[in-house]
Symmetry: C2
Subunit: 198 residues, 2 copies
């Protein structure tokens, strides 16, 4: 005896979401079943709306509702600094630091010979075109601090430095608030190599 | 700099779901943004469909797509045994044990003097009407094994036993103080098999 077909369908769809197993899908489904209709439908509408309204920014390839994303369209951003990230989801955490006031460029992934991802699969040509057309003085390579991200940063640095543009990368080091005892060797090694006078 | 309005709206709606915090809402939102449109819209449709199609079974008050739920409508179920539960969400875990072949009755909650829930707030009259009209030989009181559930079971037992109907309750073995919804199948199955007259 399984659930009614429409409930089963909802359970199946909820379980596709990342981090959602059968138990949490069930809790969500019963929450939606119990919720008043308007409130449950707001979620359905939000999903529909996001798929209708959101596309890629024509300049930086962040998610956007218009031709340009809100960051590219803002007059308050420093257009001379571009922060290169792998995915749109990497932008909100950087924004929350309030440290970077420039604009972004979303590569759409990282170089990975293992998975057959080469420069042509990323928005590298689009980045170089921006560097040629815009008045950029610094490129921050904020790809992930893992093998693919490091490889991608090294590759892009080799392409961009000859253009006379400053290329930087966020520092690797010990996480603030963490315990030295629990730091992994690679991180601790990097932190020691990059030690600075106090 | 916050997310685009439609993305923010989706994040807000996802965060309303039980067990979903800002981080998991973000993972889900990016999953839906990345997913192909048809696949993302299937979730929106499933929510809409469930709110259109699902109502309460007119007999047992389980979720149903027609006049009767699939269990009440089935010719394979033993109509002489009624399992009384608090909520529709309590039915699937009992069904998964495959130990109970009868039908159900959903009270819509449990007695709780603290929260001002009395017999008139539950579907007790509807249960008594069924017992008068249908040929029932056993009522299994599968309310939750916590104070409210025990109180409700004791109250119903006092009402039903004088009708000459056997009243049982799943054996202890269920963790006391827990929720029936989260019991594992084996424990719940054992408890049902070992049900004893009150």
């Amino acid at each position: 005896m399984q659930a009614a077909p429409s409930i089963q369908k909802l359970l199946d769809e909820l379980e596709r979401l990342p981090g959602v197993g059968p138990k949490s899908a069930q809790r969500m489904a019963y929450y939606l079943l119990n919720a008043d209709k308007a409130s449950a439908l707001r979620l359905a509408e939000a999903i529909t709306e996001v798929k209708e309204a959101v596309r890629f920014c024509s300049r930086c390839f962040n998610y956007a509702e218009g031709e340009l994303c809100e960051i590219c369209a803002s007059s308050k951003r420093d257009q001379s600094a571009i922060c290169v990230v792998e995915e749109p989801r990497d932008i909100p955490p950087i924004e929350r630091t309030a440290v970077f006031a420039g604009v972004y460029h979303v590569l759409g992934g990282a170089l990975s010979p293992m998975e057959g991802v080469g420069p042509d699969d990323l928005r590298v040509a689009e980045l170089l075109k921006r560097l040629a057309a815009e008045d950029v003085t610094e490129v921050v390579l904020a790809t992930n601090p893992n093998i693919e991200g490091e490889t991608t940063a090294a590759y892009l640095a080799r392409l961009i430095k000859p253009l006379g543009i400053t290329v930087t990368r966020p520092a690797s080091g010990l996480p603030v608030g963490g315990d030295l005892e629990f730091a992994d060797e690679v991180t601790l090694g990097r932190a020691l190599e990059a030690r600075r006078p106090l």
